[in-house]
């Protein structure tokens, strides 16, 4: 049969390609980087359900290099390089890595960047399960440094805890801080359903919401978890119970648009009956239109804030990477947290004058002790190298020109990963944990 013939052909190609890569990897494994050049890897999702966040994450990381390390943008596209960046006289060389939000692809891409290209420091990945895989991989590469992009699974730093893995953006539960209280005290919700993608990051986000909402007397009447890669979310939306005060949506990218569209088409009111997870509060969902006006959600970045630290970041970023429409890059947590991650790397390198000797121990110590003044507030790491962050409740608004934008309606300072002891290394969030 034709198809089987094709598959056999592919099989052979795959084996050949695999062998070629193995030979290449072995050939390069002994190569060392020159003393003066520092090799940086930046990894994000360019395919799969979160492909839309590629432009955001890459532009955030590169803007930090341009702003703080004297780099020059080679173009405004997400994969255009940055040249001429240096720290304390050490030129910086950048390599990009692309994944599809799956842990195996993230691991393979990290291995390529670290063992094949030979990067010293890797910034990334973007998605939750990927982060757990990379933190585990970091343990096998103790002489390299891994700085998280935006992956937000709680386990990554609370139970995997690789000594050379640093997370300056916090985890998905921290990004929900304030939202459970907002639901129970401001919206007076008592009975809520959760609808999300079925993997570690949405579970972590749910945990952050539950951690506040349930002790305040709220009830979670149903949790609906849908596998990543589902195209049609109509039946997921149909499962939302009719007797709830509202639901919490924990999706990203394409899935967010699919759910919001379906819910609004059925006559549901997104602004009054839905709260958004942090990836839901992203400009990539604006294609849904005016029905989003009034929708609130948790975010680690003060979207739409008038605070000067935030507005100067936004105007600086848009000066280098002009976004169309305006605000579509800066209005994303992925841009903001990749920017923070790269800023931390540059600050750490400056503190040790670019010295990565001694298995990068001085550099890693510098990172651990860093106090980073970021556009989203002051960031400091805890003993597990996970940041204590300021979190925000943000809301989608219609701006004066009729387009959609954000405003920050609440600020929650000093959010630590354990929620003051509510979470611990053995209480990993899952489909039905924590209970409510």
């Amino acid at each position: 049969m034709t198809l089987l013939g094709t598959r056999r052909g592919w099989g052979r190609w795959t084996v050949a390609l695999g062998l070629a890569l193995m030979v290449a990897a072995c050939g390069n494994s002994t190569a060392t980087t020159s003393n003066s050049t520092i090799k940086l890897g930046i990894m994000t999702t360019c395919g799969g359900p979160f492909a839309a966040f590629e432009q955001e994450s890459f532009s955030g990381a590169k803007y930090a290099l341009i702003q703080q390390a004297g780099g020059k943008a080679q173009g405004t596209g997400p994969q255009n390089g940055v040249t001429g960046a240096s720290v304390s006289g050490h030129p910086i060389e950048i390599s990009f890595g692309c994944t599809d939000a799956s842990p195996d692809k993230a691991r393979a891409e990290a291995r390529r960047l670290v063992q094949n290209v030979g990067v010293d420091i890797l910034l990334g990945p973007l998605s939750g399960d990927e982060g757990i895989a990379i933190a585990n991989y970091a343990k096998q590469q103790p002489n390299k440094t891994f700085v998280n992009g935006t992956s937000g699974a709680q386990q990554t730093t609370l139970s995997v805890k690789a000594p050379n893995f640093f997370r300056f953006g916090g985890d998905g539960a921290q990004w929900m801080a304030g939202l459970g209280t907002y639901a129970s005290q401001t919206l007076h919700w008592k009975n809520v359903a959760i609808l999300g993608e079925d993997y570690s990051y949405p579970w972590t986000q749910a945990a952050g919401f539950i951690g506040e909402f349930c002790p305040a007397g709220g009830k979670i009447s149903k949790r609906i978890w849908i596998p990543l890669g589902t195209t049609d979310w109509a039946s997921a939306v149909a499962q939302l119970p009719s007797n709830i005060d509202g639901f919490l949506l924990l999706t990203g990218g394409t899935d967010t648009v699919a759910v919001e569209k379906e819910y609004a088409t059925r006559g549901g009111n997104l602004a009054t009956h839905m709260l958004g997870g942090s990836s839901v509060m992203d400009p990539t969902s604006f294609t849904v239109g005016k029905a989003l006006t009034g929708l609130a959600g948790g975010s680690p970045v003060p979207l739409g804030s008038t605070d000067s630290a935030w507005t100067s970041y936004v105007s600086g970023l848009e000066g280098v990477y002009p976004a169309d429409p305006k605000g579509s890059l800066a209005g994303s947590l992925f841009t903001g947290l990749y920017y923070d991650g790269m800023s931390a790397i540059i600050r750490g390198l400056k503190q040790v004058n670019g010295d990565l000797s001694g298995n990068q121990s001085k550099f890693q110590q510098a990172l651990s002790g860093l106090t980073l003044s970021s556009p989203n507030g002051e960031l400091k790491l805890d003993a597990n190298r996970n940041a204590i962050i300021t979190n925000y409740i943000v809301q989608i608004v219609t701006q004066s020109d009729g387009s959609l934008g954000f405003k920050t309606i609440k600020t929650v300072p000093g959010v630590d990963q354990t929620f003051h002891g509510f979470f611990g290394p053995t209480s990993a969030p899952s489909r039905d944990s924590p209970s409510c």
Binding site: G5, A52, S285
Partner: protein, 312 residues
């Protein structure tokens, strides 16, 4: 096995097996399955038409779907009437398909593997070019006025998106037209003859090249049509080219390569299994719903290796 699954789903819908009765959920989810099947049928019927006659596994079929959707989106954004945009986008994709066949596939006639590889190359190129042109974020096409809301059934207070029902109606219309065209017209007779014995048809003096060209045009056109409808019903995003190619493959492998009735049954099976399993698998196992569609594939291939309506 099918009977058991049916008993399980119906049982849970009326409140047996530890579930609370929820007939409105059952009706909505079944409708979701049927409307999704309608979309799958429109896309897969083009795929099966091309394969049945020309033995070309068009691996760029999903890319044609996505490109059609994006063209429709741009037209609607430029205030072109929705239905006109639908027709124009479908015709444009028909022409793209025709060019693809004339430029790349015609001179490789009969070389199945080479043709499949060429279409894979085209799909990769199209996918990469669509990201910078149309962006990587998910976008949705606005449904025409009057069809963008939901319909009240007056039954269990169900509100159902009107446009999904329109897609189902169009799928029926397209299915009937294709069936009539293939069974009752001279062109359809030539296609059927070509499916049965290509060289004999050619030997009878029929211009097989022209028939191939028209068939490829129609097959691609259906992909483009599906893209605009799918972009309105769900959304458009990078990666959907691969997922709709995969569902087209599953549909025609289950139904039988080259058979229109097979595409219908395959689409219904895939649509219903995908939607019902996500809701009615026992709690804690719903994440296996995606696997179940492939279990369906394996089951059909094990029992009937040529698919339900396939011929050897």
């Amino acid at each position: 096995m099918l009977a058991l699954a049916l008993v399980w789903v119906l049982g849970r819908a009326v409140g047996l097996f530890g579930a609370s009765a929820n007939l409105s959920l059952f009706i909505v989810v079944t409708l979701n399955g049927l409307t999704l099947a309608g979309l799958y049928f429109i896309v897969a019927s083009g795929f099966t038409l091309i394969f049945g006659l020309m033995r070309v596994v068009n691996m760029a079929h999903g890319s044609l779907y996505l490109l059609g959707g994006y063209i429709g989106l741009r037209l609607v954004e430029h205030r072109v009437n929705y239905w006109l945009a639908l027709v124009l986008a479908a015709l444009a994709i028909g022409v793209v398909g025709l060019l693809m066949q004339q430029l790349f596939l015609r001179w490789n006639q009969g070389q199945d593997l080479r043709q499949a590889l060429i279409t894979i190359a085209i799909s990769v190129l199209l996918a990469d070019q669509m990201i910078p042109t149309f962006g990587a974020a998910a976008v949705a096409i606005k449904a025409p006025d009057g069809l963008s809301g939901a319909l009240r059934f007056g039954l269990y207070d169900i509100r159902y998106p009107t446009f999904r029902l329109v897609v189902l109606g169009l799928a029926v219309l397209i299915g009937v037209s294709l069936w009539y065209g293939i069974q009752h017209t001279r062109f359809g007779m030539i296609i059927r003859a070509g499916v049965d014995d290509r060289s004999m048809t050619s030997a009878l003096g029929i211009n097989v090249q022209a028939v191939f060209a028209v068939t490829f045009f129609i097959g691609a056109l259906l992909a483009g049509l599906g893209g605009v409808l799918g972009g309105t019903m769900i959304a458009l995003a990078p990666g959907q080219d691969a997922s709709f190619l995969l569902s087209s493959l599953v549909v025609v492998i289950v139904g039988g390569m080259g058979s229109l009735a097979g595409a219908l049954v395959g689409a219904l099976a895939l649509g219903l299994v995908a939607q019902l399993s996500g809701v009615y698998l026992p709690a804690g196992y719903t994440n296996f719903s995606i696997l179940l569609t492939f279990a369906l594939l394996v089951f059909v291939l094990a029992v009937r290796p040529t698919g339900l309506f396939g011929r050897r």
